[in-house]
Amino acid sequence: MAARLQEGSNVFVSRLLPRDNWFVSGHRACQGCGEALAVRMIHQVLGRNTMVASATGCMEIISSSYPDTAWSIPWIHVAFENAAAVASGVETGLRMLMQKGKIPSRRITVVGMAGDGGTADIGLQALSGALERGHDMIYVCYDNEAYMNTGIQRSSSTPYGASTTTSPAGRQSIGQQTWKKNLPMIAAAHGVPYVATVNPSYPMDLVRKVERARSIRGPKYLHVYACCPTGWRLAPELAVAIGRLAVQTGVFPMYEIVDGVLRMTVQPEKLRPLKDYLKPQGRFRHLDDDTIARMEQRLHQEYQKLLRREGLQL
């Protein structure tokens, strides 16, 4: 209960996070960008002994326009679909150089980061390979539920019913016609020691999970809720509120899977109506009540399924 109480007291959040910032201001993200917010918070927790391999996507574009950089820790970008492979390489290189005494031995956290497109679609193979090989790294998927960098095209992580530029709502279409791919469970199926869903609207939970991920050896997977006011047609000032609504409606369940055992970390007593979540977002504006009811039914089924798995070895 203590955790839940603290989650309510946002006033302490700024004091909760370490002061030092490694993803600094001056980057070019849109107002209210949930991805940029999550990136900053996660790296505040991870601290200076961290190296990042980033995929192409919004976070790369907005943070590294030569000669400027928003990164004050070592950071490398190679391509779109290979962040997990590049991070594998960074981890392997450091490990071997330390083992052979060519650089001083110390604990360095290696992070691979990509959007939902760079993770669920084009980068899924590289991610699967990296998780399976067991590299000691944290892979972070910043899920804003579409290819935002290229102009809001759908991904396999786009939710059912959302209108995007390649799944537009129209007379013959309700928008995205497939259900969101369940990436954290795909990651968990690799048998990695730690998987968690993370949401910057729940900073206490975020800090704890990121710290936990850092403390564990082996591959860790964090799936981050990252709102995109631009792509979701959401008022930027609602960026934090929407993240809380996502949890309160059951759209983004908050859990962690430690050595295969699932535990809910933030759990609303009763789920709020899905409409509360959809309404502020232009991407869902076209949905009629029947469709929303159908979506809600499935949402609750999925949520119950998750709750039933709590405490079980997956």
Binding site: W75, G89, V90, L97, K100
Partner: protein, 391 residues
Amino acid sequence: MEKRIGLETSIAVAEAVGLCDADVVAAYPITPQTHIVEHLSELVADGKLEAAFVPVESEHSAMSVCCGTAATGARTFTATSSQGLALMHEIVFIASAMRLPIVMTVANRALSAPISIWNDHSDIMAERDVGWVQIFAENAQEALDLTIWAFRLAEDRRVSLPVMVNFDGFILTHTIEPVLMPDREMVQAFLPPFQPLQRLDVDNPITMGPVGIPDIYPETRYAHQQVLAAAYGPITETLEEFARHFGRSYYPVETYRADDAEILLVTMGALGQTAMEVVDARRRRGEKVGLVRLRLWRPFPFAALARVLDGARVVGVIDRAVSVGGPVGPVASEIKAAGYGASRQPPIMNFIVGLGGRDVPTDDFELMFDRLGQVAAGGRVGEPVFVGLRE
């Protein structure tokens, strides 16, 4: 000390990587490259090479892992062929533009379709403009030597570029030849520890691989062009140094009985060995024929090649790949372009041979020299000739 032993060329290459004390090998198997990476993983498993062998899930990830490891300052090796090279193409470009000194062996093989595991140069010709140093070995000794040399050149701070060592699939990869195998001390004396220009380091954080807006992009391409062209100096220097250490000399362009030759044939790769036999036979008959072996493909050795071709009455250029819908033979096209506008350029005749592993017997060389002889006697050069094509 060097030991004379009989070894399959692939094993010789893997042993060379071991002698170079690579820190990381990341590779995905593809015929005919497999024996190299199998042997390397054995060296690692037996504790003979202190390296990480990263068994990646694709060639795309192989090159991506290599970018990551090289960025930390680890000595990095990979090997591939054909479809694998094509799959990693995107990252091959990036590795050089990021100045990551990776060494890659390419066991040259035809590209699909139809799928063919056999040798030609279509794979490497499709990578012509990737900004790597690209060199060709003709036999096991050369493959071994050039692998050791490749690390030295790639890591030279004036260069800091990745290097591809090409050798012909099956014709070389799977043949056993006698080689002189140097020992670790000899290699260490030639190859200093890798001291990267820049590396990922928490004490000195840098941003690698940033966005290049139009304001900066052309300058980065120009810089890449300049550094690869300027690598020619370090290439010849380090090859000379290799000769001082190991007693074997290599040059960007090598010739065989070419000094007074009126008819020259240009080859790249293992075909040079057969060609030399035919040259000998023709010389015995008093014909003034000679061979030019183009060893360095990138940076292209413009001046050295112009020097050896100068004075010939006709030049034949062998291509092992087809630029479909274009100039047909990529090597011939390059050589023609290089000489265009020179005060005199001999007529250049293009032969396409040995595609997809089709055997190139001495008879084919005889035919090529016959055709070149006709041109020398005033005949027409004509279209590129597909030698040995079935009617």
